[in-house]
């Protein structure tokens, strides 16, 4: 099983590059969740620097693509497709259609965040892509049942604050405008929401075209990692967003070595949805 590292830090890449690890770099023009890297030249420079450290690099294009951008998107995807990467992750099937049109030979991996929740959908889509990434809101049993029935073709989210929502509205800027307050919020990673009746602080990231909200806890399935490895899962995704370089490196190393010796103590770690079914009704919820 591979560790699929989402990061914008060269120090993290240097620290974690190894045989069982791949880096996933999010391109900045047609994606969300890239607070540090904002333009194509910076991205390409970052990519080439990372390539000197490890050949195990994938590119992610995770946005929902606007019709008016398709021509420019196609040109950019062609540029990316010529880079020496292992494959391309995408959330919008438009990317797959472009990759197919240009005869892309790397791996095409569908990662739509929430909607891949069952084996028939996974099997159907594996007929047209090389691998898929499951939804985060599955239990461990549900996920491993699917990975074991599609060996080495399925990946799961395994470390980090998990994405809870994506909006095309500038939610924070709209709000600040409504209360007549001017504050710099774009691409900041220190914004948090606290629901009035809860104690948790949810990270929220406002970017040029989207606003994304994340879990308060960090998914960290240390006790489950053996089971995940033996269930034919191709890889687990480890997302650094909102986590410092040092803490993230320690968390990934702990998962790799199945050891809690060097865990950062200040973080709120959890098992996410692994043991939480989300099929309650309004009535059951009362």
């Amino acid at each position: 099983m591979r560790f699929m590292i989402h990061t914008e830090s060269m120090d993290v890449i240097r620290a974690l590059a190894s045989g069982d690890t791949s880096m996933i770099l999010t391109e900045p023009s047609y994606s969300s969740r890239h607070p540090k890297i904002q333009d194509q030249k910076v991205f390409l420079d970052f990519f080439h620097e990372a390539l000197e450290i490890t050949p195990e690099i994938y590119i992610e294009i995770n946005g929902y693509q606007e019709e008016s951008n398709l021509e420019a998107l196609r040109a950019w995807v062609m540029t990316l497709s010529k880079l020496p990467v292992r494959g391309i992750y995408f959330a919008d099937p438009a990317i797959l259609m472009i990759l197919n049109d240009i005869g892309y030979e790397g791996k095409r991996i569908y990662a739509p965040e929430t909607i891949l929740t069952n084996l028939p959908d996974v099997k159907t889509l594996l007929g047209v892509v090389d691998r898929i990434v499951l939804a985060r809101e599955l239990t461990l049993e549900e996920s491993l049942s699917i990975t074991s029935q599609c060996p080495d073709n399925v990946e799961i989210f395994g470390l980090g604050h998990w994405l809870m929502s994506v909006s095309k509205r500038p939610q924070i800027r709209n709000y600040l405008k409504a209360i007549d307050r001017e504050t710099d919020v774009l691409n900041r990673t220190d914004l948090r929401l606290r629901e009035m009746k809860r104690l948790m602080f949810y990270p929220i990231l406002e970017e040029k075209d989207t606003t994304s909200m994340f879990s308060s806890d960090i998914l960290f399935p240390l006790e489950e990692i053996d089971r995940i490895e033996t269930a034919s899962c191709y890889g687990i995704h480890c997302d650094q967003l909102f986590i410092s370089d040092e803490d993230f490196i320690r968390l990934v190393r702990a998962l790799r070595t199945h050891s809690q010796v060097d865990l950062p103590s200040a973080l709120s770690l959890s098992t996410g949805y692994f043991y939480r079914k989300t099929n309650l009704t309004k009535e059951e919820n009362r």
């Binding site: 606007e66 909607i115 028939p120 929502s165 909006s167 989300t278």
Partner: protein, 401 residues
């Protein structure tokens, strides 16, 4: 039938019939299984059969939502269910799961498959992808502006459907799990708790930057695009969809009748500014929230959210539905909101609004004379001074109507 489809929601058989009666070309309903909001659905298969029959008699269509994103445990009985829907004459199912689309086309090729807005389809390349799986129609994401819809429509890869009225998600539909996280209710399996509409504090680092008197929320105004209907028709849209399977019969009657009137006026060349303003005032009679035009004209800004819990411009004139009509002009009304003797009322019918009349008396079912009726769901006898039919709606006369 008009050249563009007006598609209305219904949460039970009565509301489906009302949607048809008030002018819907097609109605979409949810069954007890495999549907978002399925736990609130009152549609047994027999009800679906009757709704299909009622619609087909009027040369209209009935669609069934099979639009949950199922986990493996949810899938038992799916094939039998799809086959039953097809055997009942259901014209199309609305799905979000691609394997359900494929299974349905294999089992029941005559039943159309429409792909839900849950799949966030925003461009023609993505439509090209889904066309390979045999789907017949795409419900576009709500995040498109009118020019994007025009470009997607021009591609003619698949027929497109767009939302024109009703509640708006703050996030891309189908990509939001706020409800899962905060209440363990899966938004993609019909459990959405609308956590986006809750109130939050906003911090930057350790600093509170939200206003304690106006908390942060993602709560959206509702969609209302009456004035862009002609643009949508010209953009190649085949179906105009009203949101709201949980909405009341009165809401459905008002909204469907308004859009029916406006579409017919456009098609007959009688769509005037005066009529548009009149119809917008009529829409306001059934609105629960303030409205905006979604993403059609601009990316939503601060004016398009509901930061204060109190909504301006929302009227509550609806009194109740007429259940029984006696030959002497007495009508039995199932009450929803308060009314007093002496108030001026009117009746909403599929043909339009009645003349106004003053309520001169009310009597309870027990025969007691009332000056005020204020118990929801109570049944009250009233006198209406002209002929009316059951399944019409009585309300206080609006100021501008």
């Amino acid at each position: 039938m008009s050249r563009i489809e007006l598609l209305a929601p219904a949460g039970d058989l009565e509301r489906a019939k009302i949607a048809f009666d008030y002018g819907a070309d097609a109605v979409y309903v949810g069954g007890k299984r495999f549907s978002l909001r399925s736990r609130a659905s009152n549609f047994e298969l027999e009800d679906i059969r009757e709704a299909v029959h009622y619609g087909h008699t009027l040369k209209r269509k009935l669609y069934v939502t099979v639009n949950m994103l199922p986990h493996d445990d949810d899938l038992s009985g799916l094939e039998e269910y799809l086959s039953r829907l097809a055997s009942l004459g259901v014209d199309a199912i609305i799905v979000a799961s691609i394997s359900i689309a494929v299974i349905s086309k294999r089992l029941c090729p005559q039943m159309e498959v429409h792909l839900s807005t849950q799949l966030s389809i925003t461009n023609h390349e993505t439509m090209r992808f889904y066309k390979n799986f045999g789907v017949d129609r795409i419900v576009l994401a709500r995040e498109l502006d009118i020019e994007s819809i025009r470009q997607v429509g021009k591609s003619k890869i698949l027929p497109i459907e767009v939302f024109i009225h009703g509640g708006m998600c703050a996030n891309y539909s189908g990509r939001c799990t706020l409800s899962n996280e905060m209440t363990l209710r899966d938004a993609n399996r019909g459990g959405c708790a609308q956590s986006c509409r809750w109130l939050y504090e906003l911090y930057r680092g350790k600093d509170l930057i939200s206003d304690p008197t106006i908390p942060f929320t993602m709560s959206s105004k509702d969609l209302l695009v009456l004035e862009q209907i002609k643009d949508l028709m010209d953009a190649g849209v085949v179906s105009l969809k009203i949101e709201g399977r949980m909405k009341s019969a009165y809401y459905i009657a008002v909204i469907v009748r308004v859009y029916r009137t406006w579409i017919d006026a456009i098609e007959s060349g009688n769509a005037t500014d005066h009529l548009a303003q009149e119809l917008k005032r009529e829409l306001a009679q059934a609105q629960g929230r303030e409205t905006f035009d979604g993403f059609l004209s601009h990316r939503p800004d601060h004016r398009d959210h509901l930061y204060q819990t109190k909504s301006d411009g929302v009227v509550q004139n609806y009194i109740g539905s007429i259940q029984v009509v006696e030959p002497n002009g007495s009508v039995l009304v199932e009450m929803r909101n308060n009314v007093k003797v002496g108030e001026t009322l009117e009746v909403l019918t599929p043909e339009g609004l009645s003349q106004a009349f003053v309520l001169e008396s009310m009597v309870s079912q027990e025969g007691i004379a009332l000056s005020v009726a204020n118990i929801p769901l109570a049944k009250i006898w009233m006198k209406v001074p002209f002929a009316v039919k059951p399944k019409t709606f009585i309300r206080k006369k609006g100021e501008s109507l």
